[in-house]
């Protein structure tokens, strides 16, 4: 059954127009991934308004291709410039940049792209088989189950995010509160507008994403006095083929990284820990761990496989449960709602063309992606050599265009700047931004799930505990939420000295 659906999906994904869209998306996405301040999330956000008039399947192919492209682009900056474009590219710099400095940039990039592709492919195959099953289970879910899953999503940010749990919680709450500004569709009342007409339409998540990630990121990189010391890399067919001949030696790392990536990836915020974990495992099981950090090809393979497997796996909860696994997936979920699709398990029943077209396009886009980046590395690397005095205004203008295009309101451009400053301050003070964005996108869905659950139970919170599936999920959510409190106790019980609290980065 799954194979038939996939075949049907390929008939949609492999039309000339959709292949063109995918290639365009990969090219744009890679540029976005290379540029400082533009990552997957806000790249997708900026281009989302341009897709409003497209057929939804082509639109999602464009946006997901941008996402894949941005993932590939992150590897270029990590290896050649020692700048991780995204947090999950940090581990790639450990060995990628030393390799590039030793003149091995070509093989390092080839290894990075190939590993990305393998990790992505692994996750796509798993999604092809798991997504329908998960959607089938999720069809039985009612509002209490969905609310419990959302609770689990956010509590895993608090428990597993690694930062200050109070600050993570504040970010989440702020996101939800911003989502509730404006018209309450259930009662028709205006909320939290305080009589200001500009607040009536609420805060648009696209504008928030563009400001928080785009402008905020530029401010931060300017403050850190980022200078690009790029290393040139030669990459040609011979280098690619020679590298491909070595790569099978790392089969174990490929498999391990893919599994880690997939497992961590469908939980929110999983790509970054997955890449570090995969790197650590590769180092531990290596025959020469002392070479790691000095320019070992396996040290590039491990994090890239895991990060891409995780990045793709983040799409699984989005299409089956309507819960995004990453900020980029959150923006796409917002896109689904705008295109008039109901995210969640019903997609498989009501819009099979869309879902299977999307899944099939993951295969085609990633194949196109790896070929495009291998062919155009010098072009992409040249973008980072553009002086900052040109790059910064161009990025700001592009962000402004994206923010304005959402609903043609000039005030949105101001909001974007404001969100940029908030993003800068929050990043400096270690308030995580990803959960804020997720909460902003999911706000209405969560509130409706909560309201409907409470109406079902006539106001009793017990509904989240007494229904078996919801109960298990709620219990897990509460466990994650309490983890920051429980962990020190557990350490003391076992006689370990309590670990020092994670300090701020700066």
């Amino acid at each position: 059954m799954g194979v038939e659906n996939l075949f049907h999906g390929f008939q949609i994904a492999v039309t000339p127009f959709n292949l063109f869209i995918a290639t365009l998306g990969i090219l744009l996405g890679t540029i976005i991934g290379v540029l400082p301040g533009l990552g997957g999330a806000n790249g997708v956000a900026i281009l989302l308004p341009l897709t409003f008039t497209m057929p939804p399947t082509s639109a999602i192919i464009l946006l997901t291709s941008i996402y894949w492209g941005a993932l590939f682009g992150g590897a270029i900056t990590s290896v050649l410039f020692n700048i991780p474009g995204e947090p999950w590219s940090v581990a790639t710099t450990f060995d990628g940049y030393p390799l590039a400095r030793q003149g091995e940039g070509g093989p390092a990039l080839t290894a990075a792209f190939t590993s990305s592709f393998v990790g992505a492919f692994f996750s796509i195959v798993l999604i092809t088989f798991f997504a329908p099953v998960l959607a089938e289970i999720a069809l039985k879910f009612g509002p209490p189950e969905f609310f419990a899953i959302q609770l689990l999503t956010f509590s895993s940010f608090v428990g597993l995010g690694g930062g200050n749990p109070l600050k993570s919680l504040i970010s989440i709450l702020l996101g939800f509160l911003m989502a509730s500004v404006g018209l309450d569709i259930v009662t028709g009342q205006l909320r939290l507008t305080f009589g200001i007409t500009d607040l009536m339409k609420g805060f648009d998540f696209i504008v928030a994403v563009i400001g928080l990630f785009g402008i905020g990121e530029i401010l931060l990189s300017l403050e850190e006095g980022l200078r690009f010391h790029g290393v040139r890399a030669r990459i040609n067919l011979k280098v690619v083929l020679d590298t491909w001949r070595i790569l099978p030696n790392y089969t174990r790392t490929f498999i391990r990284g893919s599994l880690i990536g997939f497992w961590m990836g469908f939980k929110p915020g999983g790509a970054t820990p997955a890449s570090f974990m995969s790197y650590a495992f590769a180092k531990r099981f290596s025959k020469h761990p002392e070479r790691f950090g000095k320019g070992e090809l396996e040290g590039v393979v491990a994090p890239e496989v895991a990060a891409h497997a995780a990045g793709v796996a983040a799409m699984l909860p989005m299409i089956t449960l309507g819960i995004p696994g990453s900020p980029t997936a959150a923006v796409m979920l917002g896109g689904l709602i705008i295109w008039g699709l109901q995210p969640g398990p019903m997609l498989f029943k009501e819009n099979p063309d869309f879902v299977w077209g999307l899944i099939a396009s993951m295969y085609t886009s990633n194949i196109i992606g790896v070929l495009v980046v291998l062919a155009f590395v010098p072009f992409f690397a040249a973008i980072l050599r553009v002086p900052f005095a040109i790059l910064t205004p161009v990025i700001v203008v592009v962000c402004a265009i994206g923010a304005y295009a959402v609903s043609s309101r000039p005030i949105d451009i101001w909001y974007m700047l404001l969100f940029g400053v908030i993003g800068y301050v929050f990043k400096k003070l270690d308030y995580p931004i990803a959960p804020l964005v997720l909460a902003l996108v999911l706000g209405d869905l969560s509130e409706n799930a909560l309201r409907q659950s409470l109406i079902m139970s006539q106001g009793s919170l017990a509904v989240f505990v007494t229904r078996p599936i919801a109960g298990v999920i709620t219990a897990a959510a509460i466990f994650f939420l309490l983890m920051p409190v429980l962990t020190p106790w557990w350490r003391r019980l076992r006689g370990h000295p309590s670990a020092p609290a994670a300090g701020p980065r700066h």
Partner: protein, 164 residues
């Protein structure tokens, strides 16, 4: 760092308080259609206030070490933020109490001015390059968005004069 932390947490605490106030006005109890409009924001804001209080307490107990940002490092940030604010001002214009203090020039003209300013005064690029990019990029953007994607951007008198 410590002051910035305290200020941020205090601001958010006040925001939480204001939200609680508005939520109570909307009703936080049980209405005809189930929970009333203020129910969800109310409880979120209550937890927000509690968390902010927690952060305040944490910060007060911790010691003040690193500054939030040094003056030297703040300069490039302001050098970017200033022109960016100027760009948005030129794009949207300023209207205070229905009185236009400054006309809106539209996004394309503002982008040209912004790019030229940044390239010339922050980047020390040669005038020919400045002119080429500052005129060329907005024109290309115009063609892409207004012509190809049919997404209208804010326009000012110049575009009107040219007949768009």
């Amino acid at each position: 760092m410590r002051t910035a932390d305290l200020v941020t947490a205090s601001v958010l605490l006040v925001v939480g308080g204001v939200i609680i106030f508005d939520a109570v006005r909307l009703g936080i109890g049980w209405g005809i259609e189930g929970p009333m409009s203020g129910f969800f924001p109310f409880w979120l804001a209550v937890i927000l206030v509690a968390c902010c209080a927690g952060v305040l307490a944490q910060t007060l107990r911790g010691d003040a070490t690193r500054p939030f940002v040094t003056r030297q490092r703040l300069r490039p940030v302001l050098a970017m933020l200033g022109p960016a604010v100027g760009f948005v001002l030129l794009t949207t214009g300023v209207t205070v109490f229905e009185i236009p203090l400054f006309p809106a020039l539209g996004l394309y003209v503002a982008a040209a001015v912004y790019l030229a300013f940044s390239m010339r005064w922050l980047g020390d690029h040669a005038w020919p390059a400045v002119a080429a990019l500052a005129l060329g990029l907005p024109v290309v953007t115009f063609l892409i968005f207004e012509r190809w994607f049919l997404v209208p951007m804010p326009k000012g008198p110049l575009e009107g004069w040219l007949g768009f």
